[in-house]
């Protein structure tokens, strides 16, 4: 285990150590202490490393992650796991705005609450939030899954494409073109798998409602002008 103390070591040393791991290397476990809200902790990982961050981070933690397993034992600032390609990112506390934005793959688990725009423009990432999510979440979500054990804020799934949303609690309001959909057996199976991957054991897939695109705004139609 390599330990980086950000109180004494520049962040750049941590990130370049993460970027220079040769394929097949054994020394792939990292611990980061004293992050104290630092930005860009563990960005650009492209090897199957594990990173344990002891404390809260600032902007863009684990951005562009491709294959790493990053755990933040604290809260995360805006843009955590933005544009993730693969791997896992787990936030033990809360996440700020646009968690998992534009993510193309991998799994983001937020054990606390996520703020606004969680999963905005998601493109294949799976996001599981144990608590609540804020307004405009999954805005323009293109593919992937957003699972919320708590409540969702205003305008969930506004202008949604093919991302699938599962919410267990209340949804304050649905965004343009987002509707509640039938929960079919294949969705229950998929949701059960996602919950298991995210370490959720005390909640059943039957407790969730599914939301998706009504697909009326895919192509411009003058009759829908008010809805855009």
């Amino acid at each position: 285990m390599r330990v980086f103390d950000l109180a004494t070591t520049p962040l750049r040393e941590l990130n370049s150590a993460l970027h220079t791991i040769a394929p097949g290397a054994n020394d792939t476990n990292f611990e980061v202490v004293n992050p104290r809200g630092s930005h860009s902790v563990a960005v650009g990982i492209d090897q199957p490393v594990t990173v344990e961050v002891r404390g809260s981070v600032g902007y863009y933690c684990a951005g562009m992650n491709d294959g790493g397993a990053v755990t933040v034992h604290g809260s995360a600032g805006p843009g955590v796991a933005e544009n993730m390609m693969s791997g896992t990112v787990v936030i033990e506390g809360d996440a700020s705005q646009y968690a998992g934005a534009t993510g193309r793959g991998g799994l983001l688990v937020i054990k606390g609450n996520a703020a606004s725009r969680c999963g905005i423009s998601m493109k294949g990432i799976n996001i599981v939030v144990h608590g609540n999510i804020g307004h405009m979440s999954a805005f323009m979500g293109q593919s992937g899954h957003l699972v919320v054990l708590g409540n969702a804020g205003d305008a969930l799934g506004d202008s949604l494409y093919e991302a699938k949303l599962f919410v267990r609690g209340e949804v304050k309001s649905l965004g343009a073109d987002c509707i509640q959909k039938e929960m079919k057996p294949k969705h229950l199976k998929l949701l059960a798998e996602l919950l298991e991957k995210a370490g959720v054991t005390d909640v059943s897939p039957e407790e969730f409602k599914r939301y998706g695109s009504a697909r009326t705004l895919y192509n411009f139609n003058i009759d829908n002008a008010d809805a855009y």
Binding site: R36, G37, S56, G58, G77, D94, Q97, A115, G134, H135
Partner: protein
């Protein structure tokens, strides 16, 4: 981007450290805006006395003999010089006369803020330089706000720095940009408000002053701001005994708050809060969009 901080103490034993705590919070936010910085500190008001914080681009000339100049209006006047700023303490009932004499005799001097308890210091430059030239770290107080500015809507000048104060013991710091500030300024001018700058944030401060002059409390004025101000904003505001926070309905400007038994703290980022005592066990949350948060020492007492 701009960086904002605010600290409202509940625990009186922390009051001697207010300036030091707020300075640390602000200096950490330097990379959100290096153009100018400012801080407002609310000290303990003393009975019947008022403070006027003034600034001059040429302090040597403008502040020379200032106390002697003002004595005929108020024999009890005391002037404390701090770099480009000076704090004039007078009897509250003489405050207006002092300001009138200042405007007449030393027209180059600008009033940064006034009231029973507030002192406001702001200059172009980095927060660490601003807090050290004014000795902010040594200041005691009950609450305060600070701002480090990345200029977007108007010029990089001392007057364009935050906090903006447009009423007695009132001040505001702003992260964001308003889109209807020109119209709103015209309306406020018609109602009798005056403006020192073309800055959008000064319009927000003046708007709140005008609303409170109609009898609203700070919380009610902030609620009205949600209807009448257009654009992006996170505001942190101070009054003589109050501290408020509001974000616009889109809420894309960052904000994080923390509360313990000892204080309520605001930062643009969590980094600003990490040195506060007991932050590990504080309730930390992100203020909701279009929601007014408001605390008042007088109401709590």
């Amino acid at each position: 981007m701009c960086g904002i901080v605010g600290l409202f103490l509940k625990d009186k034993s922390l009051e001697p450290q207010l300036g030091a705590m707020l300075s640390d919070m602000l200096v950490i936010m330097t990379d959100r805006g290096p153009d100018s910085a400012g801080i407002a500190i609310y000290g303990a008001p003393s009975d019947g006395r008022a403070k006027i914080t003034v600034q001059s681009a040429d302090p040597k000339q403008d502040f020379a003999g200032l106390e002697a100049l003002l004595k005929p209006v108020d024999p009890s006047v005391a002037v404390e010089l701090k770099s480009t700023h000076a704090v004039i303490e007078t009897n509250a009932d003489k405050s207006q006369a002092v300001r009138e004499l200042l405007a007449q005799e030393r027209p180059e001097i600008r009033v940064m803020g006034s009231g029973d308890s507030v002192e406001i210091y702001k200059e172009v430059g980095l927060p660490k330089d601003v807090v050290s030239r004014f000795g902010i770290r040594k200041m005691a107080g009950t609450h305060g706000i600070g701002h480090t500015r990345m200029a977007t809507e108007s010029a990089v000048t001392t007057l364009g720095a935050h906090p903006f104060s447009t009423g007695a013991d009132q001040c505001l710091v702003h992260n964001g940009s308003l889109s209807n500030h020109n119209n709103l300024r015209r309306e406020l001018v018609r109602e009798g408000m005056t403006f020192e700058t073309q800055n959008d944030s000064e319009v927000a401060a003046a708007y709140l002053t005008a609303e409170m002059a109609k009898g609203k409390d700070l919380g009610q004025a902030l609620t009205s701001a949600l209807d009448d101000l257009d654009g992006f904003f996170t505001f942190v505001v101070g009054t003589k005994s109050g501290f408020g926070v509001v974000r616009d309905p889109i809420a894309c400007k960052p904000a994080v708050m923390a509360e313990t038994d000892q204080y309520i703290a605001f930062g643009s980022e969590y980094r600003a809060l990490v040195n506060l005592p007991g932050i590990e066990n504080a309730r930390v949350w992100e203020p909701e969009p279009a929601t007014v948060y408001f605390w008042d020492h007088e109401k709590a007492a």
